[in-house]
Amino acid sequence: MTDIREPDPDMAAAELALGVLDGEERGAALRRVLSEPGFAADVERWRGYLAALFDLWPEVQPSGDVLARVERSLDGVPAVSTRRWGWPAATAAMGSIAAALLLVLMLQPVTAPGPVPQPTIAARTAPMLVAAIMPDEKGEMVKAVYEPDSGMMRLTGASMADTGKSAELWVIAGDGVPHSLGLLPRGQGMAMPVKPGMRPMMAPGSVLAVSIEPEGGSTTGLPTGPVVAKGALSEV
C-alpha cells in the first residue's frame, strides 16, 4: 500500500508535541507555531492525544522530605517588587527607540531609596542591550533594556493581553527556540532578573517576542498562542 520511496508525511506538529525534534528541525517547527495558528492548534491536539500515555506511567514514591523542602522554598521566596524603578512614569512620554539610550542613562538609580544595587561605570564591562518590541498590529511598543553585568532586564509597560490571558516574553537566540523569560504585567513597567542559564541568549541579534497565553503563562514551556510583538536586541 505504502510505496517505500514515497516521502515521509509532514508530521511536524505531532513530532513537536512528542518532543523528538532537536536543533534546526525543532527551530523550524517552533517558527511554524509562531506563524501558523492552524499548526499551533495541531500541536495542542497532539499533546492532548499523547496525554493518554501518562496513564501507563508507573508510580514511584519519592522520599519523605521532598514536600518539606518544597514548603521551605515557598516560605523563603522573596516578594518581588517592581516599584523601586519608577519606570512607567519616566518612560511614558517617550515614543521612539532613539530614546532608549537616554532611558539607559536615566535608569541609573542615583536617587533610589533603599538598598538598590548601584552599578558603577568602572565595574561595567559588557555593553547594554536594548530592544524595541514592536506590536504586529496595534498597541504600544515595549522597550527592553538588558544589563549583562547584573543580568537584570527592565521593560516598559503595555497591555497586550486581554483580561483572562497573559502576555509572555520569550527570547529566541541562535538555536531558533523560544525560551520563556516570564510574564509581562498588564500596563506596568517591570524589572526582571534573567536566569543565569539564559543570559548567554541575551546577545545582539537575539529576538524578544511576546505571545498571548492562558492566564499564568504557557504550561508547555513553549509559546502556545499567537505572537503579537517582537524586536531584536542590539548594543548601545
Binding site: 492525544y49 501518562f54 501507563l56 506511567w57 508510580e59 514514591q61 514548603e71 508547555t220
Partner: protein, 186 residues
C-alpha cells in the same frame, strides 16, 4: 470513566484549583495525590533518584506558581501536572548533558497495554482510542513513539539507542504518527 475515577478526578481538580488560590492545605493534598505519579515521570527521564527528587522539588514549585492558570475545562488535572513534570525532567537531562541511559535501575518498566479503567487518571474515550490505535501500528513504529514519550528522547537519541540510522528512525516515527492520526480521527 468509573464513578471512583470520576470522584478521584474531581478531588484532584478541587485541590489544584484551591492551590491556585494559594491554599497551602490544598497544595499538600495535591502533593499526596500526585507525587508518586510525578516522581515516576521524573525518575524515568532523569535516570537517578537524587536528580529526580531535585526535579520533583522544582516541579511542585512551578505547580504552586502556575496553579492559578489551570483551566479545568481545558485539560484533565493530571495531564496538566504530568506535562509540567515531563518537561522539567527533560530540561534537566538536557541541561546537564546526561545521556539517556538504557538501563534504569530504579525505574519500573512501563506497561505495554492499555490501563484498566479503574487505574486511569487521564481517562476518557480519547485515551481508550489512543491505546487502541497504538496497537494497530507496526511494532517498531509503536516502540519508537513510546520510547520518545516515556524516555523523553529526540530522534537522534532513539536512533542511537536502537542502533538504527537516523533517517530510518524518523521514517518509522513519521509513518507511525501518520497512521495514528488516521486512526484517531476516524
Amino acid at each position: 470513566m468509573t464513578p471512583a475515577t470520576a470522584d478521584a478526578r474531581a478531588r484532584l481538580t478541587e485541590a489544584l484549583v484551591r492551590t491556585g488560590a494559594e491554599d497551602r492545605a490544598a497544595f499538600r493534598t495535591l502533593y499526596s495525590l500526585t507525587s508518586a505519579k510525578l516522581f515516576g515521570i521524573c525518575l524515568r527521564i532523569c535516570g537517578e533518584r537524587q536528580a529526580a527528587e531535585d526535579v520533583l522539588h522544582e516541579v511542585y514549585l512551578t505547580i504552586w506558581k502556575r496553579a492559578g492558570a489551570y483551566e479545568p475545562g481545558r485539560a484533565s488535572p493530571i495531564t496538566w501536572l504530568a506535562t509540567i513534570a515531563r518537561n522539567r525532567a527533560i530540561d534537566w537531562r538536557r541541561a546537564n548533558g546526561v545521556r539517556p541511559s538504557i538501563n534504569i535501575d530504579d525505574a519500573p518498566e512501563i506497561a505495554d497495554s492499555a490501563p484498566l479503567a479503574s487505574e486511569t487518571m487521564v481517562a476518557d474515550e480519547d485515551a481508550h482510542t489512543l491505546h487502541e490505535c497504538l496497537k494497530g501500528l507496526e511494532d517498531r513504529q509503536g516502540m519508537a513513539i513510546r520510547t520518545a514519550f516515556f524516555d523523553g528522547l529526540t530522534y537522534a537519541e532513539i536512533a542511537e539507542r536502537q542502533s538504527v540510522p537516523l533517517g530510518t528512525m524518523k521514517s518509522w516515527v513519521r509513518r507511525g504518527l501518520a497512521k495514528l492520526k488516521e486512526c484517531l480521527e476516524r
